[in-house]
Amino acid sequence: MERRALRSGRFTWEHIRRNWGLYLLMLPAMAIFICFTYLPMYGVIIAFKDFKPARGIWGSAWAGLKYFERYFNSYMFTNTIVNTLVISLYTLAATFPLPILLALMCNQMYARRFKKFFQVSTYLPHFISTVVMCGMIIMFLSPSSGMIPKLLSLAGIQTGDLMGNAGAFSSIYVWTEVWQHVGWDSIMYIAALSAIDPQLYEAAEVDGANKWQKIGAIDIPMLVPTMVTLFILRCGSLLGVGFEKVYLLQNDLNIARSEIISTYLYKMGLKSNQYSYSAAIGLFNNVVNFVILILVNGISKKISDTSLF
């Protein structure tokens, strides 16, 4: 009955009227999204204007590409892009494969209690807030009282002030990120592995496969779709390195390597009130992210048949 209703215009209208409740259920969220998410997307036109708060978004005079040119020509352009890319590619290289390894490992453990304890322990750091995490990083790396310089000096490595060392910034960011999220990020892979039919393993054993061979021939191929989906998503936010953690770890000594697009944009926009300039940087950033996402998604559709949309 419903299929027939959908076919002709009059019945479609009838069907909408009978199901008005479904639209009512969406109404609050739609109103919120229009006001606070879609309206700002329209507000992005201030990137092409000389925004004056008194004259409003529409009333401000057009400025063309002035603010984009200013960003592309400023010395902060290369600086922020390079820093952002270094941190994000380094993060991707470390935090993408490690959860897969962890999941493969977890899948090989048969001591149930130990496995459970192992999982809960590795998930736990995920729930530490960014502020507390950064506070811990600064305390643990402190050259006078931190435990990490102490441990390293026992091993004969003198580190000096790591938080003040611009060259160490990306490594500090990435490896603390691994510590905090590797367990949590492995959950999806563990779920995918637990869905594997045990008969596959039995068949492989009959054929005389050892554990390494079973991982290579069964586990990893089964994880590929999950890997591809997560990889596309990660690529879509390459220029979107988390503001929150970088901003808190920044200081005057490491700023040369820690000023990324989002922190620079925040300082320009809300600290020195250069709204249009900052909106232009933000728009540039979002467009690049979006294009990368579409590209990677398209490529993946071609080669692996897995895609987001």
Binding site: L22, Y38, Y110, M147, N210, L265, L283
Partner: protein
């Protein structure tokens, strides 16, 4: 699954290569557990030890010269507790609003007979991949809605989360049999009554997942508060924590009359205790509700 595990463990005779494999796996896992837990354990023992010994690096494995001095100072810090109260408020209100706006959308989108389903799905998913950005959002919230430095800015504007909608929609699609709605219709049950009296009671698992995610998100976030709040008496816990941990701003009230060296010592003392106090609710809750958290991630992993 347990029978498969048993087979792996006993039934097949282990080769020596497989035994080496097991030894490697369990050693690495034990090491990783240690690395994951030790920093958190250290914070706890440092918070109840003599701060001078902590600063010298003498406290490593267990508390030394037990002292609750840090916690005593913490209890006298008005701004920390005000922040705590604010965060509880923001978390409760914010979580309720998130449930109230995201779950109904997810249900509507899960209905295959929704006319305009493609359009609405796009409408709710697109912001996952593109947005106006920080500055336009700030201008709209500040100039159009006058929301800066209000209670509602902390709970309302960012309450629609595309990811939650996707996860809940997948849940409804996979766990509610289509015949149920057909039967309800025959009994003359409308969409709204069906949603509230049939769908919601059957969906406690997904409600728990979204509520927990939303609550943890609110509890741990500082970004929106930093951008949109001005008056310190509205600050949530995480902003107060930022002042204590990162900006090293100590509550002068707790410190009056102390010598400079002493202030420094107490500043460090307070940090450990503050971390414990601010993280305790989530950390202690997690092991009991982890089932729900993990379930949610797995629902999200299904393609819908």
């Amino acid at each position: 699954m347990s029978t498969a595990a048993a087979k792996h463990g006993n039934h097949i005779r282990k080769t020596s290569a497989d035994r080496t494999f097991d030894i490697i796996i369990y050693t690495v896992a034990a090491l990783m557990t240690l690395i994951a837990l030790y920093p958190m354990y250290f914070i706890v023992i440092a918070s109840i030890s003599d701060p001078n010994l902590v600063a010298r690096g003498d406290v490593l494995l267990w508390p030394k010269r037990f002292s609750l001095e840090g916690y005593q100072y913490l209890f006298s810090m008005g701004n920390l507790w005000r922040g705590y109260g604010n965060t509880v408020l923001y978390t409760l209100a914010g979580t309720l609003i998130m449930l109230a706006v995201n779950i109904p959308v997810a249900y509507s989108l899960s209905r295959k007979d929704l006319v305009g389903r493609g359009f609405f799905t796009f409408f709710f998913i697109f912001p996952m991949f593109f947005g106006g950005g920080l500055i336009p959002t700030f201008i709209i919230l500040n100039n159009t809605f006058n929301m800066v430095d209000t209670f509602r800015v902390m709970v309302l504007p960012f309450s629609v989360i595309s990811y939650y909608i996707v996860v809940a929609r997948t849940f409804f699609q996979t766990s509610l049999p289509g015949e149920l709605w057909d039967a309800a219709q025959i009994d003359g049950c409308g969409n709204l009554r069906y949603f509230f009296q049939v769908v919601l009671p059957l969906s406690k698992a997904i409600l728990a997942v979204i509520a927990l995610w939303a609550a943890v998100g609110h509890w741990n976030s500082y970004f929106n508060a930093m951008i949109y709040l001005r008056s310190p008496e509205k600050y949530p816990l995480q902003l107060v924590m930022r002042n204590i941990l990162i900006n090293n701003e100590m509550a002068a009230s707790a410190m009056t009359g102390s010598a400079a060296a002493d202030i420094n010592r107490k500043a460090n003392l307070i940090k450990y205790g503050a971390i414990v106090v601010s993280s305790l609710p989530i950390m202690t809750m997690y092991p009991f509700v982890q089932k729900y958290f993990n379930q949610g991630v797995m629902i999200g992993a299904l393609k819908g």
